[in-house]
Symmetry: C2
Subunit: 264 residues, 2 copies
């Protein structure tokens, strides 16, 4: 069966989910997006994702059309008989906004990633409008390509002050005793899963400290992990080719809570 | 007659010049482009534009497919009976690169702009990979929208050090006596017209100093202008709502030489 997509409320074949390269908004990627999980036909944290979509749009002056999101996503779930999937909402602004909803197989990772941790690399660069999920993604693309070339799973972005702010598609955390360190809100994407991670931290008895670790801190033997909608909490066991100590069980406690709350 | 475009060497209706929103390279705008002038069926400075396209691509690791550019552009000129036009080459990289050539009416500006100068605004922000012409254009889009809201023609981008580097689609210059000041090459786009402007400066007896003016310098009564493929040299007569002195004749001498060399 061929896949479908939603364009401005209409069900279309996925192959027709295309944008004209002659349009200024396409050429300049004047656009915001969200990636969501659908688990057993349930759209996880839809309200949080829509709130962030609204926020991202407002920050760049993109006027979001009024859309019955739940209804549109449900129509796509129905049409393609989806049970589990990763959905993408993409909105181009301008005089004639274009709204797309597309899907792919549910992004998930081998158990081993959670049991042994993943390798990350570091990459110097600062996201433009870091709190917004815009399509201005070239830096993230290049950083992730660099990570893949070095056989790593994710790249951590390091700012001009040597602070490790976030990954290209994840937030970043370090456990320092009973403290959980992570970058200040205004410097990173307000990850939907980050909300759950910070809630889990409090539940697990960590004090949340919004201070970004520095590059030097990465080799001090503290447990590190990253989070995203598709990853939940993912332990980091290698940084730039050097083995990093990691309390795998501690990170797993975060993932368990994050996943549990998805079903609420 | 409906317009055409070139996609990977094939002539297609312009309305079909579209890219799939499901493709990672589209989502991340892993893409480079060029805008060229066609004047009386002659493609202006084609070699310079192709050299910059190659350079931009190489800087982001985008492998350009081998394309017979002149032949493809000529095919489009022929198909749509073009005499004067602005052409856009757009290349998305990745496993299956996509090359588009599209056109619009030749961008040109009223004589008054050259006789009286244009208004510009300033905008704080730094382009990612400033020497490359990539599609990562959200900053430029936002800055130009801001300029338009303030009834200005162009926005000048100001870096973290308060230096005025370039416009969103132009290079920037200041005349200080017999010196022409402009940002160092490594901080700005290597404009094809900038090459001509610097050549003209030497011809007109200016010493070229590659130092970016600071924000404070903009109100010191020195002649300012911007340049681009479509503008040639355009005098600036207003900055952020304040009238700026401008030796219009001095700037016109640049435009005359720039336009003259286009026909060589």
């Amino acid at each position: 069966m061929s896949r479908h997509a939603i364009e401005n409320g209409s069900l279309i074949p996925e192959t027709e989910a295309r944008v004209p390269v002659t349009l200024r908004e396409v050429q300049s990627n004047f656009s915001v997006y969200e990636a969501l999980r659908v688990v057993r036909r349930h759209i996880v944290h839809l309200d949080d994702h829509l709130a962030r979509l609204e926020y991202s749009a407002s920050q760049i002056g993109l006027v979001l059309p009024h859309c019955p999101w739940q209804e549109w996503i449900d129509r796509l779930i129905e049409a393609d008989g989806l049970v589990d999937a990763t959905m993408r909402i993409l909105v181009y602004g301008g005089p004639t906004p274009m709204v797309f909803i597309t899907w792919q197989e549910l992004l998930s990772y081998p158990d081993d990633y959670y049991r042994k941790g993943v390798a990350v690399t570091t990459y110097h660069g600062e996201r433009f409008l870091p709190t917004c999920k815009t399509s201005n993604l070239l830096l993230s693309y290049l950083a992730l390509e660099d990570a893949h070339r070095r056989n790593a799973f994710e790249a951590l972005l390091v700012d001009r002050n040597g602070k490790v702010l976030e990954g290209t598609r994840s937030n970043f955390y370090m456990l320092d005793g009973r403290k959980l360190l992570t970058a200040p809100d205004e410097l990173v994407l307000g990850g939907v899963t980050r909300i759950s991670v910070l809630r889990a931290a409090r539940e697990l008895g960590y004090e949340v400290v919004k201070e970004a670790p520095s590059l030097d801190d990465l080799s001090k033997g503290m447990t590190m992990f990253i989070s995203s909608t598709s990853m939940a909490a993912m332990p980091v066991s290698n940084v730039d080719g050097r083995t990093a100590e990691c309390d795998i069980e501690a990170v797993l406690s975060f993932t368990r809570l994050v996943r549990q709350w998805e079903c609420d």
